[in-house]
Subunit: 237 residues, 2 copies
DNA sequence: CCATGATTGTCCGCCACCGTACCCAAAATC
DNA sequence: GATTTTGGGTACGGTGGCGGACAATCATGG
């Protein structure tokens, strides 16, 4: 099947492969549904499959101890996970789980390991994503130390918005609090702030982006740089 | 010159290259002294050279605005910078500067770009480092949100200690405060805490590690995981 | 239709860290 | 040796977010 018509090409990385490499790679892909909460890999877990999303959002969570965890970054159809597998690793430091349900493709780890040395564009593309993702993580680190909760929340919502179709995102305060590493009530109040400015609309289990431009102004310098880096290294989302 | 006797092999990444690739790579290397404060690349700056340290420490700093900056991670002889150049990038999101003076080698960006596609071990090694470094950043992000200053400081000192010879590190409170993204007085008090427990000894412009084991206990889960990831993907520091 | 669980709203005391400012000592410069 | 610069110690009021707890509301299934 030619790339253009293959459903796996909805993933931005796979879509950029040259025809020959895409053929070899797609041969090992298996279509999967990704329900909310699905764990792609556990913290310090053995990697079984490499996942390429076509829709939905995955969260990469750093876990130091049971009660000490926070999101490092998120990815959608523009990326893959676990990143470690992209350079030949077999264990993931991070927990990776589905935050917004979607679809995608996966490939057994062994297949990926065998493909990498033989397919330079494939391995370079994965490496580029790792670099772009790492810049996303570094901004998470910066915001965690310089921004207050509402600003971080704005950034986080913008990043989700980039990765879903439409303006509605299914999210609970509790989940967001886990991701941002703050108390659940802090999320509630921060959401009220954004809602008060008419930037979003929050309902039970669902948040709707009302004014993306305004959200960006609110998030200010916290949002944007990693997205630029992605475009420089790989292309449009 | 064979790898074993080439001074560039003091860099852990270069040392792992097969003889043939090392020859090609080392051909473009130029020895450089790296004084404290030397800027390898500015934030959003055009990359001119790719640096491989043999001694000293470099800091990778995320900059969002003039007053909004914090260290994402640090590297020594176990790595290289700017990471973006390792996948073919020409611009660095991060500012990279020398934190503890040392020596190293550098290569023009064009040479690196030309070498990468032709030398799979080289490019895979750089990609592995990017992945390992990204896990370091993700722990910075986690600590920034879950740990208090003294714990973060302990982690930071341990990471410095890993990368210098001996137990003395030349550091000012002011510089540390910049890296951790906290007030300078917060660093002073946090250092007092560590000093009170006889884990370190602080003098003007210099910190001496007295009890590394104790520091590790103090830093608890904040320290260790990224170092494991490095060993898994690349090897000993 | 009611019970149960999940989700959200709110309150309170507490404390780590902030912003700012000032002083002192050591080191460097002249 | 005097002066300037740099690095370190300390103080104080202010506050964002924490820990914890409880109530209200919505959703779901028996």
């Amino acid at each position: 099947m030619s790339i253009a018509y293959h459903p796996a090409a909805q993933n931005r990385l796979l879509a950029l492969l040259p025809e020959r490499e895409f053929g070899a790679v797609s041969h090992h892909l298996e279509a999967v549904k990704l329900p909310r909460g699905f764990e792609i890999v556990g913290a310090d877990g053995q990697i079984e499959h490499v996942y390429f999303l076509c829709s939905g959002i995955g969260s990469v969570v750093t876990v130091a101890a049971e009660a000490q965890r926070a999101e490092a970054g998120m990815f959608g159809r523009e990326g893959f996970a676990p990143t470690s597998a992209g350079v030949g690793g077999t264990i993931s430091v991070h927990q990776v789980l589905i935050q917004v349900e979607g679809r995608g493709f996966r490939m057994p780890l062994d297949a990926a390991k065998a493909l990498l040395p033989e397919h330079p564009t494939f391995s370079n593309l994965l490496a580029r994503f790792i670099q772009a993702f790492s810049s996303q993580i570094s901004f998470t680190a910066l915001c965690n130390v310089t921004c207050q909760v509402d600003e971080r929340l704005a950034r986080w919502l913008l990043m989700c918005h980039d990765r879903v179709d439409g303006d509605e995102i299914a999210l609970t305060h509790d989940f967001i609090s886990l991701m941002l590493g703050v108390r659940r009530p802090s999320v509630t109040t921060a959401l009220h702030v954004l809602e008060g400015r008419k930037l979003i609309q929050a309902e039970r289990g669902r948040i709707t982006i009302r004014d993306r431009r305004g959200l960006q102004e609110f998030a200010a310098t916290a949002y944007g740089k990693p997205e630029e880096e992605y475009r420089r290294l790989i292309g449009e989302f």
